[in-house]
Each structure stands twice: as C-alpha cells, then as structure tokens.
C-alpha cells in the first residue's frame, strides 16, 4: 500500500535537478564504500532516478546481503533501500536476490522485497510469497511498530494480486477477517484482481466502498488507494464524497478513469469516463 503521507511532494522535480548530481559510477562507488549514510543515499538515488543499468542492479543486489548497516533493534536500513530501489529499476535480474530477501529477519526488508517483486511481475516468487502469508518462513520477525503484524501482509497480498496468483486465493480469503483492517483491505483488493468474473469481483469492490466511511482517516485513505488501484468504477460516487483529501480522491478517480479508458479502447469520451472526469473537475 502506498504511503499516503508522501502524496504531496514539492512537485519541483524538474527544477530540483540539483539532486541529480551523482553519476552512475559514483553512486556504485558510494554503495560499495564504507560511509553508511552515503551507501543508503546512493541506493535511494539509483531508485529515484531509475538508473536501470546492470552494474547498478548488481551493486544493489549485493547490498541486499549487507551486514554493516544495522539499527539498534536489528533492522537493515541499507537492505530496505536497496530492495525498494530494485523495484523501481524494473530489471528482472534482481528477482532472485529479492526472493532471498523475503526470508530476511527485518520486517521492512521483506515488505520492500514483496512490493518490488510485485512491481517486477516476478511469477517465480508466488510460491515464496504464499509461504510468507502462511507464516512458514523461518527466522522472520514481526513488525516492531505493529507487533500483530508478523509478516508484511498488506505488501504480500498486494503483490499476489498483481501477480495473478489465483492458486493463493484460499489463503488470501482468510485475511478478510484479519484484526488489522488495512490487511483486510489488501486482501479484498487482491481477491478483486484474482476473481474470474466481474460479478464475483463485485463483493470485494463493495467491501472497499464500505471502508471509505470508516471512522479513521488513515483507513479511508487506504481504501481510496486500493479502489484506485483496482479501478472499481461503481466506487466513483463514494470516492468523490469520501471525507479525505481531494488530492487522494483525485488519484483514486484517475485509477478508475484509466481502467475505464483501457476497457473502452480508444474511446475517451464514453459516458462513464465523462462522468468520472466531471467528478474529478469538481475536486480540483
């Protein structure tokens, strides 16, 4: 699930090109160097500017096994950055190193690895992701912030949905009753994507519409992100009137609109699309 706190960035990406001062060679040198803060920065930088170069992928994959950068609680900050960056580079040669990271003791490394494997479309990771969901991977520790999360379930569910892992449906269904609501939403999102027919998918979309009226803003935001990701058209009205930031509602409606545009093949002005655009106009 994408973090809702970062949706409002400065938007200065073109003007702030000053950040883009590293070269590929320099970044790799930093990444393999001894200065921990430069190593983390180089990993972030390679991801941020999507430097898809085989040398970058190799250096980041090595960083997934780093032992030098440890937090007091035992976390691996550099591994987390590297795992996130590898998803952004979109290079398939990162898949096997990321799959090994699914067994890392650090919850956030597993979370980033699951997200990146989903983005990379790594079908071969489905079995390992499913094991994680069943909590069958030894040596993995729970989230420090939310101890009831033994695994990064929302990230894993999201990846399985994106990967079309229909064999995992029975396991995923059990997460609709998970005590953490965010995880329930992620399960609904995945089950929507894995449903064989539109009518079977509808219950999961409707479940997420219900979530839009949850008392907690954080959960309404999560539901908005999930509905946008699946592009569930019947949610349009509920999204437009949800109590949340217009920025997030607009992103969700964009997800619906683009799903609709995809399905109407080149007809940009079908009735449904125009309706969604009118709702977006009213939120600007």
């Amino acid at each position: 699930m994408s973090s809702a706190s970062s949706f409002e960035n400065s938007g200065l990406s073109s003007a702030s090109a000053g950040v883009c001062t590293l070269s590929l060679e320099q970044a790799i040198e930093y990444l393999r160097g001894s200065d921990l803060s430069l190593r983390v920065y180089a990993a972030w930088w390679l991801g941020r500017f999507r430097i898809d170069d085989i040398r970058a992928v190799a250096a980041l994959s090595e960083a997934l096994a780093d032992e030098d950068d440890r937090t007091v609680a035992g976390g691996y900050p550099l591994r987390r950055s590297a795992a996130r960056a590898l998803g952004k580079l979109g290079n398939q040669s990162a898949v096997s190193a990321l799959m090994s990271s699914l067994g890392c003791s650090d919850f956030h490394v597993r979370e980033a690895a699951a997200q990146s494997l989903g983005i990379l479309g790594a079908q071969e990771s489905i079995a390992k992701l499913t094991e994680l969901l069943k909590n069958e991977v030894a040596g993995t520790e729970a989230s420090l912030e939310e101890p009831e999360l033994i695994q990064p379930y929302d990230a894993v569910l999201e990846a399985l949905g994106a990967l079309g892992a229909s064999a995992a449906v029975p396991v995923i269904e059990t997460f609709l009753q998970h005590p953490v609501e965010r995880v329930q939403y992620a399960a609904a999102r995945a089950l929507y994507q894995l449903s064989e027919t539109a009518s079977a998918a509808r219950q999961y979309g409707d479940f997420l519409i219900q979530a839009l009226s949850h008392q907690k803003l954080q959960l309404r935001r999560a539901a908005l992100a999930d509905l946008g990701a699946i592009g569930y058209l019947p949610a349009a009205g509920a999204i437009a009137s949800a109590l949340a930031e217009n920025s997030l509602k607009l992103i969700a409606l964009k997800g619906l609109l683009e799903k609709q545009l995809e399905q109407s093949e080149g007809d940009f002005l079908c009735e449904e699309s125009v309706k969604v655009m009118q709702m977006m106009d009213a939120l600007l």
Partner: protein, 212 residues
C-alpha cells in the same frame, strides 16, 4: 466592531471544538449563517488540518462571495500549504478577478501541487465581467499564458486542472480573442496526442469536444 450575538456563539463553538467531529459540526453551523462576521474564523479553519471542516469552510466562504475575497487574499498563509490550497480553492470558487494576480502566481510558481491545481481551475472560473471592460483583454491574455504554462507542469494533476481551466476560460474569452482560442485548441490537441498520462489525453479530448 460589534459582532452579531448569534454569530459570536457559533464562532465560540468552533474555537472550543475538542474533536474532529465536533469541529465539523460547529463549522457547518457557522458556515450556514452566511454572515460576514464568520469570515475570519472560517479562514482560520482552513489551517486546522481537518479536511471535512475545511471543505465546509470553503463552501461557506464561497457562498459569501465577494465579501470574502479581500480577507482571503490578506490571510493567505505562506507557511502552510494545506491552508493555502483551501484558500485558493475558495477564491477559485468565488471567481472574483481581484484574485487574478494571486492565482497567476500560484498556478505557475507555488511549490505545493495542490495550490497550483486549485489556482489553475480558478483561472478558468473568473467572472471577467466584474473587471472594467478595457482591462479584460490583457487580463485574459495573462490567464491564458499562465494556464498554457501549467499544462507543462511535471505533476499530472496540475496539467489536468490546467486543461479544465483552459476549457472554461476558452468558453468565456471575448470574441476579439479568436487567436487565443486557437492557441488553446492547438495545445489541447498536442496534449491529446502526446501527454504520457491517459487521463490528461482524455480530459483534453473532452475539452476539445466542448470547444467544438
């Protein structure tokens, strides 16, 4: 200045609200009286990081129309982009051309994308007839120029708002501005063909269909 006693009570209720829901209810009641005395408090609410209350306050300010314009312009918060976005949104809804300079600047130069987005829509929604007739052509050229620039923004949502703004503006251009209208249509056709975001392409086509 003496305040209307009923409005004073409602203002107090906003000041004393101790939960997001209580705040929302209090702001709703204050906005509903549509009294100019409510304006400073409604503007303050924009900075409370309570989206529900802010939406209600914006609606209240918009309903008060031209009375709210100068206070909104004066109280624009340089340090809180959330509050600034809501204030620009209120100004955009009201459509009073006294906000033109602020909207031009906000649409093209504000660092916060939610501010640029709201300002772009605002430039499309101005009621030009409130300006002296002699000033309209030049003011409209400024608005067109700023919106065309905003269609090059790096954020999709600002480009989306700029397209919506251009559509609204083109429909209101004075007949003497035929060449501006043409420039707008050309830019929309470009976006339809080239923008990397499908939503922008679709919105550009919708705008073109409205401009016929």
């Amino acid at each position: 200045m003496d305040q209307d006693p009923q409005v004073s009570t409602l203002i107090q209720a906003v000041e004393q609200a101790n939960s997001p829901l209580a705040m929302l209810t209090a702001v709703r009641s204050l906005a509903a009286v549509r009294h100019p005395d409510a304006i400073p408090t409604l503007i303050e609410v924009l900075g409370f990081n309570n989206p529900g209350a802010a939406v209600t306050a914006v609606e209240g300010l918009a309903a008060l129309g031209s009375d709210a314009v100068l206070p909104l312009l004066k109280q624009l918060d340089d340090h809180n982009y959330g509050a600034r976005a809501w204030a620009i949104r209120a100004l955009a809804d009201i459509g009073d051309p006294r906000a033109l300079a602020v909207l031009l600047d906000a649409a093209t130069a504000d660092f916060a994308l939610s501010v640029r987005r709201a300002a772009a829509r605002g430039l499309g929604n101005l009621t030009w007839t409130q300006l002296p007739e002699a000033e309209i052509p030049e003011a409209q050229v400024h608005a067109v120029t700023a919106l065309l620039q905003a269609t090059h923004d790096s954020e999709w949502i600002v480009r989306y708002a700029a397209v919506a703004g251009l559509q609204m503006l083109a429909q209101k251009l004075s007949p003497a501005q035929g060449d501006r209208r043409k420039v707008i249509q050309q830019r929309l056709e470009q976006l339809l063909a080239d923008d990397p975001v499908a939503s922008i392409q679709a919105r550009s086509q919708l705008a073109l269909s409205k401009l016929g």
